[in-house]
């Protein structure tokens, strides 16, 4: 049994303590927006926020999130409307297959939360843990810059 907060809602799940958070989110809670890519924290497809920090949920045992606050892609725009990162992703038509994009969006949102106007180098540092096999990196970079502008109340 583990109890934690997911997207603002308190959840208690019955799972072995070593079960990765990823599978609890996907299978116990039905939150399938968070993806399984590698299982060893190499690709970033499973990125969620734990107490505001980006986290690879595929290697995080459920026991480690007891009592803590998890936000998934489904909860990123919970306050209504889309998060600036999501708006920018749509404006730049970033996704191709889209499988990695939940993780990309969560990493980008975490970056902008701590660095509101990131440089290209800061984007490299924050985003290089997220693999996109379709190769959308150029659009991701453009979308992060756009999201920074949108978050400040600007337009493109």
């Amino acid at each position: 049994m583990a109890t934690f907060v997911v997207n603002g809602k308190r959840e208690t799940v019955n799972a072995e303590p070593d079960t990765p958070l990823l599978w609890v989110l996907r299978e116990n809670l039905g939150l399938t927006g968070t993806k399984f890519g590698c299982g060893i924290a190499q690709c970033g497809a499973c990125t969620v926020h734990l107490d505001g920090q980006p986290l690879r949920s595929c290697v995080t045992p459920i026991a480690a999130v007891e009592g803590r606050n998890v936000v998934t892609i489904e909860g990123l725009s919970a306050r209504g409307g889309l998060h600036p990162v999501q708006q920018a992703w749509i404006a730049e038509d970033v996704p191709q297959c889209g499988y990695c994009q939940s993780g990309q969006v969560m990493s980008a949102a975490a970056l902008l939360a701590r660095t509101p106007a990131p440089t290209d180098k800061e984007i490299d540092a924050a985003m290089s843990g997220n693999i996109c096999r379709c190769g959308t990196y150029q659009r991701i970079r453009a979308a992060i810059h756009l999201a920074a502008t949108l978050a400040k109340g600007g337009t493109r």
Binding site: A15, E16, D18, T19, P20, W23, R26, E27, N28, G30, L31, T32, G33, K35, F36, G37, C38, G39, I40, Q42, C43, A45, T72, I73, E74, L76, S77, L82, V85, Q86, W89, I90, D93, V94, P95, Q96, C97, G98, Y99, C100, Q101, S102, V105, I123, D124, A125, M127, S128, G129, I131, C132, R133, C134, G135, T136, Y137, Q138, R139, I140, R141
Partner: protein, 714 residues
Amino acid sequence: MKTLVTRRLFLKGGLAVGAGLVIGLRLPTGRSPLEAAQQGRIFEPNAWIRIDREGMVTIINGQSEMGQGILTSMPMVVADELEADWTKVKVEQAPADPAYNNPRRQAQFTNSSASIRDHIEVWRRAGAAAKEMLIAAAAKEWGAPVSECYAEQGTVIHRPSGRKLNYGELAEKAAALPVPQNPKLKTPDQFKFIGKKVSRLDTSDKVTGRAVFGIDVKVPGALVATVQRCPVFGGKVASFDATRAKAVRGVRHVVQISSGIVVVADSYWAARRGREALQINWDYGPNASQNSAAITRTYADLAKQPAPVARGEGDVANALQKAPRILEAVYEVPFLAHATMEPMNCTAHVRPDGCDVWAPTQSQTGAQQAAMRITGLPREKVRVHTTLLGGGFGRRGQTDFVEDAVETSKAVGAPVKVIWSREDDMQHDFYRPATYNLLQAALDSQGIPIGWLHRIVGPSIMVWQGQALQNGIDRHMIPGAADLPYAIPNLQVEYRYKEVGVPLGFWRSVGESQNAFITESFMDELAHAAGKDPYEYRRMLLGKSPRHRGVLELAATKAGWGTPLPSGRHRGIAVAYSHGSWAAQVAEVSVSPEGSVRVHRVVCAVDCGLAVNPDQIRAQVEGSVVFGLTAALYGAITIENGRVQQSNFHDYPMLRMNEMPTVEVHIVPSAERPSGVGEAAVPQIAPAVVNAIFAATGKRIRRLPIRAEELKKS
């Protein structure tokens, strides 16, 4: 493993327009008009269009969406001819049904960059036929001649009176009219969507977590399973003990299926834990001692002997004997995995009276036939639901992951989702073949090539796909080599088949992906040997290949070929045809003293005929550069003791954000019929980069991936 759907050899030239197109203008089988009406299908003139009383247009797409944007470009094409109001268009995924077969091959699939190029006429005719019916219905209503009526943005207008009826109002009446078999198509100047930037319809779902990929399918009561396969290719289960596996909490069943031992549980984690507890004795079979070094030695020996000729012109032996200058080189490429971001998976529910399959598949027909074979059910009882695909690249045209799910569901009598781990996915792929290539060229006294011999030694994709070689030739192994576009009077391309026990399949851009690296690198060697500029040298030899030459010139111009670069940067160029289209790339590269390669900028020109959705063509080319560059810099699957040595992204790395070059895409304006764009720009990046490395260091890379130790300053 056999697939019944065969991948077509690239075809140059026009589409055979004819009877095949009419076949498309029919409804999926098994749906009666009554059922259609009960389901609110008011006006359903063909397999692709449904219009309801509110004027909502549903466009049904039979192709798989794996990132290429077909869920947007397909409805664009239909809606354009239909004169639909884009704000009232939605797209729906078709079932597996012959109505959605590729008109040139009797199967429903998404491969060979064929969606637009093979279907566009059918889709246009579908939209145009529906529009004519709606116009006829309005004309009848008004008692006016059809010639006085026209359609625009979901409305039919009577020109003389200005009267209007929208498609919703006309749907029911149009449904009673005959379907025109030869509707009039638009001229390109009349296009509303084709040729314009149209935003993707699937983006919103893909940035909010709502998009449903195969792995996300939710079927009530479904169990989750994972398969332990023999680590050695071709190995089999000799015996197994499931006692400990079954003791794991949540494990429900452990059974043997064709691919190995499957552990079926309440959750993926329980299935994984159960699988780790399996005790299996394997019969490793004849491949148990296979390894990459031995494969290379075997190939190198075979390369000494002449091989079956795929293309022969003039007298190469004579040219090589008499020319004042001869060049010889050996080029090698490794096995490569597809590594789609979504690991292989499939969900199936087999019942005595029917079977449902939810699959991220590139082959609806293949998936359906596999399920029919396993269940013994007839086609109409096997429903294939195509989900979104988390990458395809050719991997998902196979049916092995579908077979896992159908066999398991049949065995345990419940719906089952089979999920592969990343390690399963990487170690049990259908790989791009490794080959060994001998090249010889004869130059005349001016440095002009008068002879070219290319001998490919390698395994066969066709054999692994259940097809027979033709006169010793595998037609998937030679593109990019046998269709060398340069004017060389004595030219011979040979292929020697040698099986090595590694499963092979189609990897994005297939033959060209490796052969263009070899031919475009060797062509660069010829240019340098001749003391000529590599761009001008190619240009001179492409007189009879205007579309090659066109993209080459455009890329060179846009890249500023010949103009100064920042210190340490050097350019390389390459051009190739693939899957219906032409592309050229110029790469700007620097090499550190330690031998590490940095690609700063890639300028790409592409000629894919009429550009249906230019922004998505750009997206495909950007992605193709990343795909090809990843392979050039890192890609290698190696074999030891009959097994793949790599297992995950730490030892089979992908290009990441910090290594991403700036990619510029230039589309050749064209009114030619649209051709493929998912694969066309993959082949050029490896040779462009390698040629730039030569310009930077004087060192010639002839074996992929590029290795820093070969480039280190000594």
